[in-house]
């Protein structure tokens, strides 16, 4: 048994053509049959609405719309075909405050450039095998900043810090987005 990547669509949003082509080629080698591309966030959102891809891989720094704004739009725009689509953000930044900024925009995974084929694969496998639950609050909608526990790990059994909250996923540990990045 192996992943049947030929069944999924991935959208790459990247303004650097050589980087876009390289990422596309790697995904095709992984077996992804349909790779859609866009050169900035604006075009990316149009393609996203049109194709409803299973995963979005976006660069951070793009003009006129960057990867962070694209993610916010995917999460909050009423035209968005799926608010829960995993977003893997590619960037040269690796400082914790940048990771947190991306996390707060609703990004699912963070891929630091330069990366190798296994790094990209690991991020894709992560969104498949360990999807994030989502949080909706007054000022945020996006993937939970904590992770559902890996099987075999002790589930969170501490006090419920938000007694009034509607908790749909019961097993949550305090695995932070940035900490996971450092794994």
């Amino acid at each position: 048994m192996a992943y049947e990547f030929y069944k999924i669509k991935i959208l790459i949003v990247e303004d650097n053509k050589p980087m876009l082509d390289l990422t596309k080629s790697i995904l095709q080698t992984f077996g992804v049959a349909e790779v859609i591309t866009a050169k900035d966030g604006e075009e990316g959102f149009r393609e996203y609405c049109l194709h409803n891809p299973d995963i979005v891989i976006a660069d951070w720094m793009m003009k006129p719309m960057d990867g962070i704004s694209l993610t916010r739009r995917m999460r909050n725009d009423p035209r968005s075909p799926n608010q829960y689509t995993p977003v893997i953000l590619m960037t040269g930044f690796s400082e914790k405050r940048r990771v947190l900024e991306a996390r707060d925009a609703g990004v699912t995974e963070f891929l630091v450039k330069p990366f190798n084929a296994r790094d990209l694969y690991r991020r894709i496998a992560q969104v498949i095998e360990r999807p994030r639950q989502f949080v909706r609050s007054e000022d945020f909608f996006g993937p939970d900043r904590r992770r559902i526990s890996k099987s075999g790990q002790k589930p969170y059994d501490g006090p419920n810090r938000r007694g009034d909250d509607k908790r749909i996923a019961p097993e949550v540990t305090e695995i932070d987005f940035a900490e996971r990045e450092a794994e």
Binding site: M1, A2, Y3, E4, F5, K7, I8, N16, P18, M19, D21, L22, S25, I26, T29, F30, G31, D54, I55, M61, Y84, P86, M90, T91, G92, F93, E95, K113, P114, F115, N116, A117, R118, L120, Y121, A125, V127, I128, E129, P131, Q133, F134, V135, R136, S137, E138, D144, R162, G163, D164, D165, K166, R167, I168, A169, V172
Partner: protein, 178 residues
């Protein structure tokens, strides 16, 4: 439930666990080592010419340097630093993807440096200029990979310049460099 100051909690969050359609589509088992090795080989054998890209980012970095040199006292410090930081980040991101690992290593030091200084004063900008000059020399000299011992010496020289700056200008550092 413990109430805080006897007040009703104002903010509520809803936790949603979306259906994992992605997993349902792709199934299990991961990818074979063979596929991953082929993908890595493809990446390592890419024939993209990094020089035009590097020149574009270096030009942008130089504009940022000029801007910082001309910036008056009223200039937005964060904006001034960002104008050098973003092209530095692009050099770091792309160098290693296209066979110039040493460019990525140097640009990474540049980013770390720019992330921790509070202000782009003259001395700080001189160091950014040294990064620019060195990275440009690496690109023009087509020094690929980590550049061997000579490349690592250049990297160390840049790092040492940063450390000397931090030692001398303790008041201009936002956080400790890691």
């Amino acid at each position: 439930m413990t109430e805080h100051y006897n007040q009703t909690r104002k903010r509520k969050a809803e936790f949603i666990k979306p259906i994992n359609t992605l997993k349902a589509k792709v199934g299990s088992g991961g990818l074979s080592e063979d596929i991953l090795n082929r993908a890595q080989e493809l990446l390592e054998n890419n024939t993209v010419d990094f020089q035009p890209l590097a020149e574009m980012y270096l030009t942008s970095l130089m504009k940022g340097i000029e801007q910082a040199k001309e910036a008056g006292v009223d200039a937005d410090k964060e904006h001034t630093i960002s104008a050098m930081l973003y092209p530095g980040m692009q050099l770091k991101a792309n160098g290693g993807m296209f066979h110039y690992a040493l460019v990525s290593q140097m640009a990474d030091k540049l980013i770390q440096y720019l992330e921790v200084i509070d202000e782009a004063d003259i001395e700080a900008v001189e160091i950014v200029l040294a990064f620019h000059t060195t990275i440009r020399a690496v690109v023009l000299g087509k020094i690929k990979g980590d550049g061997g011992p000579h490349g690592q010496n250049l990297l160390k020289a840049l790092n040492d310049a940063c450390m000397r700056y931090f030692e001398k200008n303790k008041g201009n550092i936002g956080t400790v460099i890691e």
